[in-house]
Symmetry: C2
Subunit: 465 residues, 2 copies
């Protein structure tokens, strides 16, 4: 009996042990996976870690109000508004933080004054009329402001301010119904909000600042670079002979362009934040941020063509050898030269110089397009089967589109260069191009043998006014 | 002297009058323009006006706490948390409001308990150690939570909760440093937050509710419809003979598809909100919202091809008459039939029926693609100049792409239909198709002469479990 129960117990134990082992195994795998994700998040953009520390610092600093007897006595319960302000105002970039801080400050002031006025007017209406009048004014104001928040332009820049406007108006006009220390309260609250906002803005601005303007500038440049990388690799990739494994492992970078397709919203966000930012680094006050949106939109136009092109890579249809040999050079050149042009444009944006070095590439890509046209006009293709060459003809036609897209992008970047007064470097000293994406996977440019003098962006910047 | 001064005065008066007239003219124009914008905003989506009224109502209701003596005595100063909660929780759609309300409620509870624990533990450390321990815990928690907010999945669903978590933890743990009525305060605050959240959720849910799920459902369907409209019109528009003005004024609807290109973010937002929503109308709990994102992504794939196609409309290159006459039918059919297929798919989604009626259109579009292929294989094009036909060949090739995109979209909608258990209508009684966009501009479908019995979606819904 005892033995049977022992065996049974052991069975239960082993079953539980197995279950426990399976569970801990799963848990372990989950923990490893999460750790990997956390590490990647930090490695992808180390500024995230710095931001988290900055946020902790700002919050701890503001909470000092509670520990300093004299400060706490002055503010009392209102001290919590400083904490609340830091939590809602402190954002990743300087522009976002400044925007929120200004929105919050201004909205609080204006709505506070309005609320006080409403409270005073309502108090004239007697004890019965007061709640009715106040209720009506809250209803009307909330309705109107909520509707106004639907305007896209206002929503983009002042949404937070409108929210705080409603909040403060309600709190001041209604809570004033009970207390007559409304002015005292307003004074305390405004001071604490100022403390919270200024702490946030100060830390955001002076401790490893993250500029939305820089991010937008770099985003637009790196989007162009991604398209350039695709185009530089496309010719080789499309015309490669299947089975020739030499190039097959190298084309992962060719999917990078996909992120460009959906970049509109982040560009618009960054541009909105950037408008709040003061001059910094090479960016002056009133830098033409809108022009970046224009460039971004043209870049996406080009990306849509590239998305169509991408469908033709690795297609199983064999290109007739004769047709391939005739058309390959023109297509590869169009693709390669517009790719180089886009990369040059990206470099010019990054270095903030006029994109003068791009003209030869654009000329070459247009020449290649013209070559293609005269080749086709020469009638060599009378003997070939149209069905077999359709994909290649489509690719060629899309590439011609891409060439004209590239030209438009170059024009808009020239516009940016003149709007933002990009300064060209002295002709003898050529600025070194910033390291391009995946440069190692791309064959070296032909004929670029001029000596390169190393000039970093930092060295260039003092020349800019 | 007097006369001169009079003349001078008159001159000043007239100048000022002119200035005043110019100013008031400008102001008048501005007012008219703004009024027009406001009217358009309301007309575009009348739910915006209703939402504004609902918001005003919720806020007025909650501010009643201040006017009812017994309620106000119970809550005191904490009553303002009810107002704050309504302002930050009340959103346009039920899903967004529920998500925010749940985030706020849960985060407040958990962080309140944690904050209380931190406060208690710190108080054991003595008067000197307490502020240091509390400051450290605030710094650590704020840093970790801020970093966690960078995870895209968490940011999409729990961003607001994480914010409130930090806020509540700080307020409870630090303010507790001074007061020992922490539990009393917590009780008041939680009750008022509950009042605010439940008022918001109640009004949002029962007064003209706006469902994010419905919006997502309709957005995906209308995006398909827009692409369908373009494709239905494209064949006619592309092959029209220049100068034949008959069709020129009708093609404004062909730009509608452009909004599809950048629809990713709004679809993802709506899907996130929709997941918070309870079952409503024809949508059951755990409706496969993720599948809509898949359909949306395929729709955008198709839209990118259409964007490339759009570049060929109104191109100045003349298509050779012989080539046009041969290729026109196949291309027009591909475009028309895939357009019809997309519109049928949109109707099927809207009516929540399996898209069985779409198969013939897809078959026809594939037949047209095959016709094109055999036409090209027949070698009729030996005598033509390849250069002249390149644009048309590209259009044909892109249309073949569109046909295969359409097929993929149909597959994914079939998947949706089985995941969401769409019920087919009895075969004899055919569901009337919902009114399609710009139907009047499109020639009537050939061969659709079956009798239509009018069945509205409302009549269909009771059949669904």
């Amino acid at each position: 009996m005892e033995m049977a129960s022992e065996i049974k117990n052991e069975g239960v134990f082993f079953r539980n042990w197995g279950w426990f082992k399976a569970l801990s195994g799963k848990l372990g795998a989950k923990i490893v996976e999460t750790t990997r994700k956390i590490k990647k998040l930090g490695q992808d953009d180390p500024r995230r870690i710095i931001h988290s520390l900055k946020f902790g610092l700002a919050l701890t600093l503001v909470s000092l109000i509670y520990y300093f007897e004299p400060l706490y006595k002055g503010f009392g319960n209102s001290a919590m508004w400083a904490i609340l302000t830091v939590i809602v105002v402190f954002e990743f970039s300087v522009g976002a933080t400044l925007g929120r801080g200004l929105n919050r400050g201004l909205a609080t002031l204006v709505a506070g004054a309005l609320g006080f006025g409403a409270h005073y007017l309502a108090s004239l209406a007697g004890e019965k009329g007061e709640p009715i009048l106040l209720g009506l004014s809250v209803f009307l104001l909330a309705g109107v402001v909520t509707f106004v928040r639907f305007f896209p332009q206002l929503k983009a820049r002042y949404d937070y301010g409108l929210l705080i406007f409603m909040l403060t108006f309600c709190l001041v006009s209604i809570s004033g119904y009970r207390e007559d220390e409304i002015l005292e309260m307003a004074h305390q609250r405004i001071s604490t909000i100022l403390i919270g906002s200024s702490t946030s803005v100060f830390i955001c601005l002076f401790v490893f600042p993250v500029w939305a303007g820089d991010d937008l500038h770099n985003l637009v440049a790196s989007n162009l670079e991604k398209l350039g990388s695709f185009l530089e690799g496309f010719g080789v990739e499309y015309f490669k002979i299947p089975g020739d494994g030499k190039l097959e492992s190298n084309n992962t970078f060719m999917d990078d362009y996909k992120s460009v397709l959906n970049s509109k919203q982040s560009e618009e966000c960054l541009a909105n934040f950037a408008r709040w930012e003061p001059c910094h680094g090479q960016f002056r006050f009133r830098h033409p941020w809108k022009q970046y949106l224009k460039i971004g939109s043209l870049t996406r136009q080009c990306a849509y063509r590239i998305e169509s092109l991408n469908g033709y890579i690795n297609s199983e249809i064999q290109i007739p050898a004769e047709f391939r040999s005739k058309i390959q050079e023109a297509c590869t050149n169009m693709s390669l030269e517009s790719g180089k042009a886009l990369k040059e444009l990206a470099s010019a944006i990054k270095a903030m110089t006029p994109p003068s070095s791009v003209t030869p590439h654009i000329t070459k890509s247009k020449d290649a397009a013209n070559n293609l046209k005269s080749l086709l006009r020469s009638g060599f293709c009378k003997e070939i089967d149209l069905l077999e060459v359709i994909p290649t003809v489509t690719v060629a036609s899309l590439l011609v589109d891409v060439v004209s897209c590239t030209e438009k992008i170059a024009e808009s970047i020239n516009e940016l260069a003149s709007l933002a007064h990009f300064q060209s470097v002295e002709p003898i000293v050529e600025a070194e191009k910033p390291k391009l994406l995946h440069q190692e996977t791309i064959p070296p440019c032909c004929g670029v043998n001029e000596p390169h003098h190393v000039i970093t962006i930092d060295q260039l910047s003092p020349k800019l006014p």
